[in-house]
Subunit: 269 residues, 2 copies
């Protein structure tokens, strides 16, 4: 069985605890595919390099990073460079034969680049033409099986690969959903710096333990900020055959085993 | 047959021309393993991030980058992040099924971390203890064959993996030498921003067309700066079974095919 785990890139995530738990799960004989984020660190490095992040909000209220060519360089540096290297290093130190890949490698994560991005700024709609973003539509499962069968644990991050072979920024949660469904995984675990979906963010006592697929549309109305994309990813995963998506807390010990046992927000049909 | 090509990271290298030529060679049926550098861009980003590079000179006159944990983060960002991503992207656009790896991935390039680095600063010897550097002693050829046999073109950069699983800075030319010899390659092509080894650097009319292995020790005496490590790498490659090492120019069209036909400095027994 293959477990697909996404760990976010927000501040406060404890990658040591996450990697401890991946090592435990892998040593118990499970195959794991890890997808990771890097948004917080990308913001930090962008500021330091004098290219502060610009966040776009779509007319539907979803946020995304404005990614011109220079931002994509920074994005690749942080996600595929620093974050990926340090997560692979943590896993190697724990005896896991980890191997890092970006979605560009062997066209692992492929989809069309958006020719135009529509955003709302100061109450007005603007069209953006130099954005390198897109959506994953195809996963190179042959490459993942090749590596998993040879005993490697793939550690995957954006950028992905456009149809024309360009590096593009894609949402990590939705990419993880595509990977889980392409691999026929039963569970997709999405770890972040909150315990799950909260009815009243940021009040953690309002955690929703279970949501049905049919209620996800409604859940979008109270999902805040980056959680909206996670709900969208969960919806896409379940629509394409994943049985359970679990939103769980990446700041606690054994976060993956806790999620597997149903702690967090469990989404299913 | 597998061709092992190293392309440097100095200013002036034309990666578009290098990737054009790799695509031509791959389409002609040859398997290629590409190793790349990133020193110039690492210097640029280090300066921008307020952590200017510090270059160490060994008592033998070899230079290397002082690499504490913070420098290693920057190093990984530039080599495994920006440079690797953009080279893989160039190859994908040219129809090559490229796949980027750092030496950390699946312990591709492994060797001991140096506990202490000896350097000469202001005429005095100093000992450095917090350096994350080492030397590649073992190549995971199983991983390279797995990928090559499946039709991927590996694009490899430092950092490498210490015995304990830490990310370490290693010299790219010497790593390329280890890869060529581990794969049983007949030729190792080392491309940089000079036409080959010059008897009087930087006078390009003093290019040395051929050097015997037995003359390499002497060649070290007029090799300048980073060229010293290339001579060392060439010596190690030939000592471990590679027939020819060719230093050639990465600024011209068809640089790899030119090198294959003997243009540049050819080193052999």
């Amino acid at each position: 069985m293959i477990s697909v785990v996404k760990v976010g890139g927000s501040a406060g995530i404890n990658y040591d605890l996450v990697c401890d738990d991946i090592a435990a799960v892998v040593k118990a004989g499970q195959k794991v595919v890890l997808i990771h984020g890097g948004s917080h660190e990308t913001n930090v490095i962008s500021e330091k390099l004098g290219k502060p992040p610009r966040i776009l909000t779509s007319p539907q209220g979803f946020t995304s990073r404005y990614t011109d060519a220079e931002t994509l360089d920074i994005f690749a540096m942080v996600y595929a460079g620093k974050m990926n290297t340090r997560i692979v290093e943590r896993l190697l130190k724990r005896g896991v034969n980890a191997l890092g890949l970006s979605g560009l490698d062997g066209r692992l994560l492929e989809g069309p680049r958006k020719a135009t991005v529509r955003a709302v700024e100061n109450g007005r709609q603007v069209l953006i033409h130099d954005d390198y973003t897109g959506k994953v539509e195809k996963v190179n499962t042959g490459l993942l099986h090749l590596l998993l069968d040879a005993g490697y644990t793939p550690v995957i991050s954006p950028p992905a690969c456009s149809t024309a072979g360009e590096a593009i920024n894609v949402d990590g949660d939705r990419a993880a959903a595509m990977i889980a469904s392409a691999l026929g995984a039963k569970q997709l675990i999405i770890l972040s710096n909150v315990p799950g979906l909260l009815r009243q963010f940021p009040d953690e006592s309002t955690l929703i333990p279970h949501i049905r697929y049919s209620e996800l549309e409604q859940a979008l109305s109270f999902a805040e900020g980056r959680m909206k994309k996670k709900v969208l990813g969960a919806s896409e995963a379940i629509a394409t055959g994943v049985e359970q998506v679990i939103f769980a807390d990446a700041r606690t010990s054994q976060p993956i085993q806790a999620a597997m046992s149903g702690k967090g927000t469990v989404i299913s049909r």
